[in-house]
């Protein structure tokens, strides 16, 4: 039976608290989101501290073990790769790169998306038309092939690669911010601010943007997942960040050749990508629920 009544009864009694506190409480009630946050925090800590604790460097080779992947042992917990390097150290160091790319890519995509979306939504008219047509164009070009094309053409450094990744996933954010701006710019408080003499930039930054921060935060969180996935896919295909600098994607690339003999090399980096992206998605969902409570 579909029950149409319980939904409305479930709403908890509203207490008058500060909105941020309220959001935090609602987020904390979302068990999966909380778990996601814990996983991400742990990952970040391991990735920052890990390389110092490891007795090996990420490109340090044990010449006795070169030629074939080595099985996990007490000295090398996750085994060694075909070049005699400690797999665990490379995994942790690769996490630094992958998480870094994910975070910075999301920052760039959020900045670009917010800028384009807010200009289009606030000024409307010709600006809106041009910016949104551009967004449509970027949405129509398949992302992974475009990233691949750009990475052969420009042979980017890791920093440029982050810019490219961020520069290709901002479209959803731009559409979202635009729709927020279109709705908010008609509010009375914006009219009041305008009547007091506030100009366009001030209205955008001081008055409208703060009220659109909720959805932007959710989009930014999800963008971390997209950019980690995109960079991993690129590195997996052999075109992103190139060895010897490890990322989860390029570790998986070299491990795929040894899949039948040394599966222990291919499983951990994939698990790391999977759990990180899953955690990011749960946190995003939790934030969405916390910021835009629906009935």
């Amino acid at each position: 039976m579909v029950d149409l009544t319980t939904e409305t009864l479930e709403t908890p009694p509203q207490q008058s608290r500060r909105p941020l506190r309220q959001m935090a409480t609602r987020f904390a009630r979302h068990r999966l989101a909380l778990m996601g946050l814990v996983v991400l925090t742990l990952m970040t800590l391991i990735v920052i501290v890990g390389p110092w604790l490891s007795p090996y460097a990420y490109d340090q080779q044990d010449f006795a073990l070169i030629g074939m992947p080595g099985a996990p042992s007490a000295a090398h917990w996750l085994g060694t790769d075909e070049l005699g390097r400690d797999a665990m150290t490379r995994l942790i160091y690769g996490g630094r790169v992958s998480l870094g790319v994910g975070l910075l890519g999301a920052v760039i995509s959020t900045l670009v998306g917010t800028l384009i979306g807010s200009l289009a939504g606030f000024y409307r008219g010709v600006w809106d038309m041009l910016l949104m047509r551009f967004t449509d164009v970027m949405l129509s070009i398949p992302t992974l092939p475009l990233v691949l094309l750009l990475s052969t053409l420009f042979r980017p450094s890791p920093v440029l690669l982050v810019v490219i990744v961020g520069g290709l996933i901002w479209m959803g954010t731009a559409r979202l911010v635009r729709s927020q701006f279109l709705a908010l710019r008609e509010r009375e408080y914006v009219e009041a601010a305008r009547a007091l003499g506030a100009g366009g930039p001030r209205l955008i930054v001081r008055h409208i943007l703060p009220n659109a921060l909720g959805p932007i935060t959710v989009a930014a969180t999800l963008a971390v997942g997209s950019s980690i996935m995109l960079e991993s896919a690129l590195s997996f295909l052999g075109f992103g960040i190139l060895p010897p600098v490890p990322t989860w994607g390029n570790i998986l690339n070299s491990a795929s050749g040894w899949l039948a003999i040394a599966p222990w090399l291919a499983i951990p980096p994939g698990l790391c990508i999977f759990f990180t992206v899953l955690a990011v998605n749960f946190v995003g969902e939790g934030l969405r629920d916390a910021m835009e409570p629906r009935g």
């Binding site: 579909v2 164009v137 129509s140 070009i141 398949p142 295909l237 998986l252 994939g270 998605n281």
Partner: protein, 317 residues
């Protein structure tokens, strides 16, 4: 379906296609070395020869002229010659399209058949254990890196169990239907997992919205059973938000099966893309990008048409 709606929609796509061609053209021209980058790296091509190639390709003309010339040849189907094979780009793409369509088509069909029931059950039993299991599985499916699930399946089913072939479209010297079907299982599974996950979410949320509408209550009130309410009253409206996603994903799969086709050595256009990347075959890459983008635009138009069929307010309003 009104004819003028169709025409309006198709005409509306022209500026979009124009914009796409402009962006792609700009990218290839901004690159260091430009379109002749491949030759510039080659020590056996002298600077004079390079100059001659430049003239032959019209690259000494002003950039806007080059753009117009390029656009004109794209429109008449002259997409240039592949640097790697020397054959016309368009021919090469068309011969590779078949395997991709086969793989993509079967994956889409499977995804649809699995995702729709999952989404419906999840929405109808909202908050139940089934719902949370489906939701959790969907999140996992969305977060699963395709290249990794492909490797894992290969490891388990080809290497360890030896049940399924790990790569290719058919065994050498075989080509029977059953052999081809066996080769399809792993790549289809990999391609379908993510789409099933994301579509079931869209269908669930569409269904949840629709099930809280008054007309559904009315249907129950007049004594309809749950199955009939869902299938005959709710489903049509619940599908509307999912239509665009499904249409776009179809094209994304066609043009974005890059990873799956590479891992499973599937001779489609995704693999062609990676092969062309390795040979820095720019005419081919541009052709593939152009085709992928046109596909997305076409899918959008088709989605709008399905939209209008499902929801008459759109075509009349």
């Amino acid at each position: 379906m009104s004819f003028s709606f169709l025409i309006r929609r198709i005409l509306g796509a022209i500026p979009l296609l124009f914009g796409i061609s402009l962006v792609l053209f700009t990218i290839i021209h901004l690159a260091p070395g430009g379109p002749l980058d491949v030759y510039a790296d080659n020590p056996s091509v002298s600077p004079e020869a390079l100059e001659q190639i430049r003239e032959a390709f019209g690259l000494d003309r002003p950039v806007p002229v080059q753009y117009v010339l390029w656009l004109r040849s794209m429109l008449v189907g002259d997409w240039g010659l592949s640097i790697r094979t020397g054959r016309p780009v368009l021919d090469e793409i068309l011969t590779r399209l078949g395997p991709t369509m086969q793989l993509g088509g079967i994956s889409m069909l499977l995804s649809f058949l699995v995702a729709v029931p999952l989404g419906i059950i999840s929405a109808a039993r909202r908050g139940s254990r089934t719902d949370s299991t489906v939701t959790l599985a969907a999140f996992a499916g969305i977060s699963l890196p395709v290249f990794w699930s492909a490797l894992l399946l290969q490891l388990v089913f080809s290497v360890w169990l030896g049940w399924l072939p790990s790569a290719g479209m058919k065994s050498i010297g075989d080509g029977s239907v059953s052999d081809r079907l066996l080769h399809l299982i792993l790549p289809v599974t990999v391609l379908s997992l993510a789409t099933i996950a994301s579509w079931s979410r869209y269908i669930r949320s569409g269904m949840v919205d629709v099930l809280s509408q008054d007309y559904i209550r009315t249907a129950y009130a007049k004594g309809r059973r749950e199955g009939s309410v869902i299938l005959r009253h709710a489903l049509r409206n619940a599908m509307i938000p999912a239509v665009t996603v499904i249409a776009i994903d179809f094209v994304t799969i066609i043009s974005g099966a890059v990873i799956t086709e590479t891992v499973f050595a599937w001779p489609g256009i995704g693999r062609l893309f990676v092969e062309s990347m390795n040979g820095r075959d720019y005419p081919m890459l541009m052709g593939l990008m152009m085709m992928g983008s046109v596909g997305v635009v076409a899918a959008n138009i088709i989605a709008d048409i399905v939209y209008a069929t499902l929801d008459p307010r759109i075509r009349h309003g």
